[in-house]
Amino acid sequence: MTIIYTIINGILLGGLYTLFGTGLALTFGIMRTVNLAHGDMIVFGSFMSLLITRFLGLPPFISLVVLIPAMFLVGQVLQHALLNRTLQQGVMPSVIMTFGLSVILQNAMLLSFSADRASLPIGSLATMSLPLSGDFAIGVLPLINLATAVLVLYLLHLFFRCTMMGRAFRATSDDPTTVELMGVSSRQMYALAMGIAFAVIAVSAVFMGARTNFSPLDGPARLIFAFEVVIIGGMGSLKGVLAGGLILGIAQALGGAVNPAWFQLAGHVATLLVLAVRPSGLFPETIDRT
């Protein structure tokens, strides 16, 4: 029985990691660059949600109504004004740029929010649970988190498969030069893609802030799991993100059940195994740009 409980816990944990990974997978899949400030952006989103909660008096989940469009804009402006400038010089400059952004963001948040820890006030929802058996229960919030992750991925899937714009995104990912010939501005596509990635970051930020407490320096610890999700799942694949998130969550939960010291280690080992066996991940979708 214990092993089933452990796996269920792992799946629920995977829901959180899936959300973390989705934003990163989008930037990776379409722009082919890594956003090293991803974790700090999540923390930034949590603080923004906290501000909205405080000043507009909205509950954290309702704050998404304001937060998602706001973060969408932030992402678009960031890509447009900053990251698009480095497109001609290959991948490295934008990676270094996001690294710098991560440092700046951490310190800016330290200055404005201090090092005090904060959490999003969602009341008793944070600790509610559904009893599955006499000695085992699952948390309601992690369950909502998992459902949201699946929903976000499904919506993104529909968007990319069934709309003209989604097709334009996929085309831009495969071959930006040819897309330009078809009259699509790859720069605009990149800006939009970053906007969508930031909208997803807003959702993961609210779940992270409600689940535990956070402080300005927590970002890098979040980035590593988002990375592993993308690596396990396959660069730029949405299906892969879900698989990656669940595999990482289950691996950590199982590792932790055997020995608490192996919790994170088991996740890293799972990532390494996938890298060794299938270097491009379980469901690679992007094609090599040559």
């Binding site: 649970s129 948390g139 535990t212 939960a253 919790f263």
Partner: protein
């Protein structure tokens, strides 16, 4: 631009001007014979991961400077005093650099450093190596003494001294609390794989032998990595062993995750006593769903402590009231030891027979002072001549109708009875 400014000619000109001016400065200095500027270096982690525990330092420095009127009287000479603040950004390497900077560039007379081994150890090492008097606090004395390679009975640091409580004090107050409550004496431990967790779980000097000697059974969940998002394995283990007391030395996000999942799983221990994770009011308030209420933790300073400032005569309660009035934030424990640190430094300067490192160092070593944090006199611990122990009590973050935000009350004072008890211990609410 820069190269133009510092052309050979302008440097020569400036050098000549300085050479002409120098005798005038020297003459006025020696003619007055009184008061040279005394420089105190003050190192603490003002920004970065540890910033929340040094939040009160700015207030404390101002408060002390104000009380001194910016001057120190030594013998019958009045000296101006300057405190040079340095921020380690919570980085041990930077702390060492800053100490070197204070010694070599600012040429300070004494260095004071506080808060966590990552601050006090590198600073003390620099001071010891360069022969500058240095006093530190805000880290368990064992981490300071052993962390710097001290050997009991052998090592006598010449320039560096430390005052704080130690791990034996911590174990004693935790056990005092646990024994005062009726439980099944089963303790579940969350000790991570970091220096604190390893020290707490040490089979010879940590909690395990003390717990065994007092008839408690220990369920050690094992050394986990900090910052993990799931504690269900630990909770299942504690639940099946019937744990009623949970203890640990954790980061606050980990404790938050643990508490939330415990509640979800219906695991409700009567007592949760943790070090490190519940130090400041804002941290305790940041636990989801009010789970910070009735967490218990060690208390090393607060308005309950019966001590007074050796500089202004204010009591601990006065200092707390002044802090809350001026900053609008609830008081926190580190204010008390940052204040005491300055007291010890200034007292040593006042007693120094001359303003030389040797004389100031000698004055530091002969410290015998009642401070905001209690009596400070080195050598009261056999075999550790550079260490002074300060009081430790245990308390709880409680909430009531009058004060709806969690505040720290002292519930047990068996080891330092002069600390006032201002609340009755309550079982953890879930």
């Amino acid at each position: 631009m820069l190269t133009q400014k510092f052309s050979r000619r302008s440097v020569l000109r400036a050098g000549a001007a300085a050479a002409i001016a120098a005798p005038a400065i020297l003459r006025s200095g020696s003619a007055q014979a009184a008061g040279r500027l005394i420089k105190i270096g003050f190192v603490s982690p003002r920004s970065g991961a540890l910033a929340q525990i040094s939040e009160g330092d700015g207030f404390v420095l101002n408060k002390v400077l104000e009380a001194l009127g910016g001057k120190i009287v030594i013998g019958d000479t009045t000296h101006d005093v300057q405190i040079i603040e340095k921020d380690t950004q919570s980085d041990a390497n930077r702390a060492a650099e800053l100490a070197a900077e204070l010694i070599l560039r600012d040429e300070v007379d004494i260095i004071l450093a506080g808060l966590t081994p990552d601050t006090v150890n590198p600073v003390s090492d620099q001071a010891e190596a360069n022969g500058v008097p240095c006093v530190t606090t805000g880290a368990p004395w064992e981490s300071w003494y052993f962390g710097r390679g001290g050997e009991p009975g052998k090592t006598d640091f010449k320039w560096t001294n430390h005052f704080f409580w130690g791990s034996a004090d911590l174990q004693a107050v935790y056990l005092e609390l646990w024994q005062s409550q009726s439980t099944n004496k089963v303790v579940g431990a969350l000790w991570p794989n970091d220096p604190d967790g390893i020290a707490f779980s040490d089979p010879a000097f940590g909690f395990p032998p003390v717990l065994a000697a007092q008839g408690f059974s220990l369920i050690d969940a094992g050394r986990f990595q900090n910052l993990k998002d799931d504690f269900s394995a630990e909770i299942a283990k504690f639940k099946s062993a019937g744990v009623e007391i949970v203890t640990g030395v954790m980061l606050s996000p980990d404790l938050a995750t643990f508490l939330v999942q415990s509640k979800q799983q219906g695991f409700h221990p009567k007592i949760v006593t943790v070090a490190k994770a519940a130090l400041t009011p804002t941290t305790v308030e940041s636990f989801p769903d009010g789970l910070g209420e009735n967490l218990s933790s060690e208390v090393y300073w607060g308005p309950q402590f019966p001590f007074h400032s050796s500089i202004s005569g204010e009591s601990a309660a006065d200092l707390v009231a002044a802090y809350e009035a001026q900053t609008g934030s609830p008081w926190q424990q580190p204010i008390g030891f940052s204040y005491a640190l300055l007291e010890v430094g200034i007292d040593a300067l006042r007693r120094a027979t001359a303003l030389t490192p040797e004389a100031i160092g000698e004055a530091v070593r002969s410290t015998d002072l009642d401070t905001m944090l209690g009596h400070v006199k080195w050598g009261d611990l056999q075999g550790f001549p550079n260490v002074a122990r300060t009081p430790l009590a245990i308390g709880q973050w409680q909430r009531d109708a009058e004060r709806p935000a969690e505040h720290l009350v002292v519930t047990h004072n068996g080891h330092f009875p002069s600390v006032a008890i201002d609340g009755q211990f309550k079982p953890k609410v879930w």
